[in-house]
């Protein structure tokens, strides 16, 4: 594993008294897709939200350990959480476009970063939508409400919105779990294309999806990282019994 983007050292997370993540240590390579799999409640989403500090929003959460992104501990006191999130984008399980027009949804991110020039915004909107492979569908209706789109389009719009702020890392929390198979495959293709430029971490319940899209896979169980390795290896010759059981569908 060369080109380490994210280095996690003994990361633990507590919801009040409950320890939800137990001494996670892992390395996430750059410009690859890393899938996090595991049964519900195993802490994979929680871990994902640690990476861009979304867990800060929950008052009772306490985090120990280190999470280094390109060598910088993002939980350091001197690190600004807003700047982290600009570099580490996130796509949520449920598509959540703003109640604004399609154009405004994409332009929101650049705008808060101080881009006011209309032509520049137009350009960003177009490139982001093209990158998210949704430009052709939406180019004639940029002024329409984003909430009028189908679920799959909304989710790709959300991806485009994330791309518009040009992050380094994109976190995806089960981005296709609420979508039909066609939309899902579109999202998966998209993930495949995006990994050229971005480091992508994707949480999924769908084993085939993990196998199809990811280069590396991490298996979480009960707040612990059980096993991590190349997706091929994990799915064909897992080292741990638990991983094998889960992947073959014996539990979870």
């Amino acid at each position: 594993m060369r080109d380490i983007k994210i280095q996690v050292n003994d990361l633990s997370l507590y919801y009040g008294e409950k320890k939800a993540l137990k001494e996670i240590s892992m390395q996430i390579p750059a410009n690859k897709v890393t899938a996090l799999i595991g049964p519900s409640g195993c802490g994979k989403s929680t871990f994902l939200r640690c990476i861009n500090r979304m867990n800060d929003l929950i008052p009772s959460v306490k985090i120990t350990g280190e999470l280094l992104v390109e060598g910088i501990d993002i939980y350091d006191k001197n690190v600004d959480v807003v700047n982290i999130r600009k570099k580490i984008g996130m796509v949520f399980q449920k598509s959540n476009p703003f109640p604004k027009s399609i154009y405004e949804n994409i332009a929101y991110g650049p705008r808060i970063n101080g881009i006011k020039d209309k032509t520049q915004l137009d350009e960003i909107v177009e490139t982001s939508l093209r990158q998210a492979a949704i430009w052709d569908e939406l180019k004639d209706r940029l002024g329409d409400s984003a909430l009028g789109l189908s679920g799959g389009q909304q989710q790709r719009l959300c991806i485009a919105r994330t791309l518009a702020v040009s992050p380094d890392i994109i976190l995806m929390d089960e981005p296709a779990s609420a979508l039909d198979p066609i939309s899902t495959s579109k999202i998966e293709e998209l993930v495949h294309e995006l990994k050229e430029q971005y480091t992508i971490i994707i949480v999924t319940h769908n084993m085939q999806q993990a196998a199809r899209t990811s280069d590396h896979t991490a298996f979480f169980y009960m707040g612990e990282l059980i096993e991590m390795g190349k997706t091929n290896t994990i799915f064909t010759k897992p080292e741990k019994k638990q991983t094998e059981d889960y992947i073959t569908g014996r539990f979870g």
Binding site: L57, R85, K86, P99, K100, Y108, G109
Partner: protein, 411 residues
Amino acid sequence: MNSPHPNKQTFTKESLKKQFRLSEFLAEKVISSVAFLSIAVIFLIFIFVFKESLPLFGFNDKAKANTEIQTTTGAAIETYGSETSTADSEPETYGAPAESLEPETYGSPTEDLNPVVEETAAAEPETYGTVTEDLNPDSASEDVVAIDEKVTGNKEGADKTWSTFFSTEWVPVSDNPRFGLIALFIGTLKVTIIAMLIAGPLAILAAVYTSCFASNRRKEIIKPIIEMLAAFPSVVIGFFAMMVLATFFQDIFGYDSRLNAFIGGVAMALAAIPIIYTISEDALSSVPKTYTEASLALGASKAQTAFSVILPAATPGIFAALLLGVGRVFGETMIALMATGNAALLSANPFESVRTFAATIGSEMAETVFGETHYSVLFFIGSLLFIFSFILNAVAEFYVKGRLIKKFQGK
């Protein structure tokens, strides 16, 4: 095991037969009748209030005919508001004889008016000479129809019976009474605008703070405290405004009349803040958390998220909150009575005393003669308030619904 389900049988036509459930039927009927009763009560109140002001309308047609004849001869006599239809059918004509176009003769009744004016019981010396100057420019600009006292572009040119309503002065008790609703309306508007300019931003910012910035603990403390302000009787707020605020602001601004529209506005803002705050806070808090997350995940700061995502998404609710606040201020009586100075002056100066619609009813209703024009006019004002708040609520309702559908379900 079948005891809890005595009707549990095989799936036959018999077991599926329609049943009459008496208690359910009764409960449903009682609840629905209570609901309809409340609607009926509202309508009955309105009908009663409106009915009392009906004499103003009853004489309408005849008066119109009257005045049209008069205008051809050049004497625009405002006949108005009376009881041809009711028992004491004595047509009352007031206001504005033709001579009132000349500055000095305002209010002096002509001979033909004299016998019909019937306000002797409540007659008062007239001390309103100054107002003629106000009227003069307006009336001079009018054409042959010569409607004096048309301050604003009153569309119903034919409807001269009502034109004292559009006069600038409120002199209900006099030989020549004038019911200038304009002065009252402007007064009400002034107080409402001042109150909303103060209460709106304060309440909305407080709501934004508690819903987007404050920690849960602070929110739990702040919210009930602001809402407690709603529990203050308005007489207490009025008293506070009259005794404390008036002096305080007079020291700062140094205006002449101690009780004025501004003080009234400040006091009413105190009454409106909890309403606007509570509803805006609910609106802001009910914006889905996913929007907040999405915005934060894009690298927006808390303030950016609050003002460019949450606030716009909550606009319909905040709009409704503001309208309800306007309704509260518009109808507020006790604070208006105590803190606005109660002088029906027509001016744009916020530091002049004013009189509002509600305060007029509150202060004069007890002293009018039953069935008299003044009495009818007060009820007419009541109907106006009623209609106004009805429209306001309707607008709030439909605007909110329309916007919500447009915003949250897409086009």
